[in-house]
Amino acid sequence: MAEQKQQIEEFVPQEYAAGFITDIEADSLPAGLSEDIVRQISQIKGEPEFLLEWRLQAYRHWLTLETPEWAHVHYPEINYQDISYYSAPKKKTDGPKSLDEVDPELLRTYEKLGVPLDERARLAGVAVDAVFDSVSVANTFQDKLAEQGILFMPFSKAVHEHPELIKQYLGSVVPYKDNYYAALNSAVFSDGSFVYIPKGVRCPMELSTYFRINAANTGQFERTLIIADDDSYVSYLEGCTAPMRDENQLHAAVVELVAMDRAQIKYSTVQNWYPGDENGKGGIYNFVTKRAACRGESSKVSWTQVETGSAITWKYPSVVLQGDNSVGEFYSVAVTNNMQQADTGTKMIHLGKNTSSTIISKGVSAGRSQNAYRGLVRVGPNADNARNYTECDSLLMGDKSAAHTFPYIEVKNPTAKVEHEASTSKISEDQLFYCKQRGLDLEDAVSMIVNGFCKQVIRELPMEFAVEAQNLLGLSLEGSVG
């Protein structure tokens, strides 16, 4: 118990205030949600008429919806009138002035994760200009991308510079009517990222790298839209391995991906938001709608996620396989500890012919946490020769944790081949004994076994994040065995 407590303390330093830096100059709106608030958000951002109209439609639709309750998670009712839907970023002066002022426990965590020195300061919330000028770094990247015609910019900027693209694609994958949180997001989304890869272009860098340096946070209701035109390729990473504290309780993001003919999108997520304390107090509610449309033939979308944070995770990155021969992939590691709850999985909707999908889901639950896989594989009547392979494994650590599997398989085509396999097990005494006998201490042994369990997923991550993700797994589970 003492060990566990120690882990919490190092993991969640209380003194560390939210330290995100963004450059938007705006005041906070008062708490509450109404048409006026939606109009004000749109006004602050100087949005064109069509977007305001869309937001209002979403808001009106949201009013007619009820909070979904089907997920295997429990939390007190959220009062949507208590939330401020547009808040100004923290003033730079609020943060610590240099790394010396940052909680040493937090620094130790960064060290364990192997976060580069420069970034540590930034992540810890040290004022940007005190560390280094990231803008210039960002600009070099920006130029390189622009050379190839790649658009990568904040959503709010894209609205002004490329309204035709926004108009065409916004809500085309996740319509505002999709679900409760998607409707809410559509009404009040603050910002996010916009990516457009032109025909035949292979994006020369992981957009992730840039993303982490320049825009660690895009707010509570972020909206990402990625369009990969014919024959293009892009790899995108969101989130960060480092523990981030955030005062916003509810995060309802929407991510839309569109892959045209022969285009490929690889989307990786590492999420390590504040999970709440050991008694389940506080923590982020992460209610996210992520969906990709494989519109073109032979297109491919691959989701990879490592989820270790948030008090509640409620997220199902999906792929709609519309184009013939399109491919969908989902690789997921979800780790829950203490009182965390995760209900996560994917949906693979096969509509085109010869479409295939792979689902690899690894759940690790420790402490008193609840970890559920919920997935849907649907093969429509015209999706001839559709193929799906699903594997979802759970690892249980400690007799108070729980692991669940809720796979839905719906097949309406006799040429479909669908396989689903799931298993549940614990780290055996034999495995631990073997490792310890060879000189590993308990923590390292557990970390090694968990990493082996998750290897299939970790290796799908871009190289530099794979290393950090491995360390993260060990860190998240510290003190949960023994």
Partner: protein
């Protein structure tokens, strides 16, 4: 609203009449009354209910069923011809009425007691309804408020019943749109062993409704082998619940074969309440035409050291629709649970639909649980192998389909029963190859 409340059949008023009837024991009156109140509250589930996501009772709710049996006439040799076994204790229910002359329960082995529910219901005050608490509420209330017949079987401790008990439930078609509400109760005392077959047969292709709830209670070390063979008319509605409590070291083997009915829904629930108890839950469904079959199974591992093994297979042809939902629940502290579940489906034609949902909820860590679900077609290589050896396309397909289906029967310990069931399955298999 998550329920269908507009019902064409006035089930509630039929129940009111039953409650008002003279000669009913006060406790049973109360039981029916409570069930009626519950039924009025919950009625029939609509598709919005998670457990009814893929099965609609709309068509069922629009049927007008008759609760008055007009005639129970049936020739004795007709019963013989439908019976699965010839050397068995036979209990026959015709159109919802127990038939003493057609049954063969006069010379029972000592320690075995078989009675009709209509004759023995008065003694069941404390045992009826003990096992069904966790299954579908509205429909079980419907059964409780209207149950009129059934079979009550009890075996004394340490007695092994050698002969199989076959319950034959026949619909003759003499009464149009007949609704029968049956309640069976099987009780095995400490160390008792028995084999029971529930066999449902429709003699016509008429529409009717069979509603059945079977409760099984196994004491320590008791062993029950249980089969259910459902061969209702292709226009019939068959809604069944089968629920069992297993005490320490008891064993339950159940095999549920669904061949008939327009709409068949089975809720099978096993609660492993004693250590070392084990359940084998197998099933096979062969559907064709416009048939719809829905099997919902649930296994509760409530204590440590229990095991379960489940295999459900389905063959779908025509425009049929099959649903499988298997839930394995490992409760807190139910350590050393070993649970295995598998659902396999063979799709033979365009137009059929399968919805499979194998679920696990696990609240203990030292467990070994796995499940799998697969959906596919006949293997082209295997077909080629058989064709190369001279079998024509149709025979080769039939043979492979048979091999796929009959797999479920291999775990049946009794040779005679296995052969008899294999024969029934063989006759029911589609005879033609796939029409592309």
């Amino acid at each position: 609203m998550k329920q269908l409340s507009e019902l064409a059949t006035p089930f509630a008023s039929v129940a009111e009449a039953l409650i008002a009837a003279e000669g009913t024991a006060p406790w049973l009156k109360k039981r029916r009354q409570d069930a009626l109140t519950q039924f009025n509250m919950f009625s029939l589930p609509a598709k919005k209910e998670e457990d009814w996501k893929y099965t609609s009772l709309w068509d069922f709710s629009q049927q007008i069923f008759n609760h008055h049996t007009e005639s129970v006439e049936i020739a004795a040799d007709e019963v013989d011809s439908v019976a699965l076994l010839h050397d068995a204790y036979r209990v026959v229910i015709v159109d919802g009425v127990f038939s003493e002359e057609l049954s063969d329960i006069d010379a029972l082995q000592s320690g075995l007691c078989i009675t009709a529910l209509s004759e023995s219901v008065d003694q069941l005050e404390h045992s009826l309804g003990q096992q069904t608490e966790l299954t579908k509420v509205g429909l079980n209330a419907l059964n409780t408020m209207l149950m009129s017949e059934g079979v009550v079987i009890s075996v004394d401790s340490a007695i092994e019943i050698e002969k199989t008990i076959e319950i034959i439930v026949i619909n003759t078609g003499n009464t149009a749109n007949l609704a029968t509400h049956l309640r069976h109760k099987i009780e095995l005392e400490t160390g008792a062993k028995a084999t029971v077959i529930e066999h449902y047969v429709g003699l016509t292709q008429d529409s009717y409704f069979t509603d059945v709830v079977t409760e099984v209670n196994l004491a320590e070390r008791a062993e029950l082998t249980h089969y259910k063979l459902q061969q209702e008319s292709n226009n019939a509605f068959h809604i069944a619940t089968l629920a069992a409590h297993l005490a320490q070291a008891s064993h339950w083997l159940t095999n549920n074969i669904s061949l008939g009915a327009k709409l068949a829904r089975n809720d099978i629930h096993s609660q492993l309440l004693g250590e070392q108890s084990h359940v084998t839950m197998d099933g096979l469904y062969l559907v064709d035409g416009e048939q719809h079959v829905d099997n919902h199974t649930r296994i509760d591992h409530a204590v440590p050291n229990t095991t379960s093994d489940e295999l459900y297979k389905g063959v779908l042809d025509g425009n049929s629709h099959a649903v499988f939902n298997g839930k394995v629940m490992v409760h807190k502290d139910a350590q050393k649970t070993d649970a295995n579940q598998s659902n396999r489906n063979l799709l033979l034609s365009r137009g059929c639909e399968i919805d499979s949902k194998p679920e696990m909820e696990i609240y203990a860590d030292d467990v070994k649980c796995g499940h799998g679900s697969a959906i596919g077609q006949l293997d082209e290589d295997q077909l080629f192998f058989l064709r190369a050896r001279g079998l024509d396309e149709v025979s080769a397909r039939s043979l492979l389909t048979y091999a796929f289906a009959v797999d479920v029967l291999t775990r049946i310990p009794n040779h005679t029963i296995r052969e008899a069931l294999a024969k029934v399955v063989e006759q029911r298999l589609p005879k033609t190859g796939e029409k592309e």
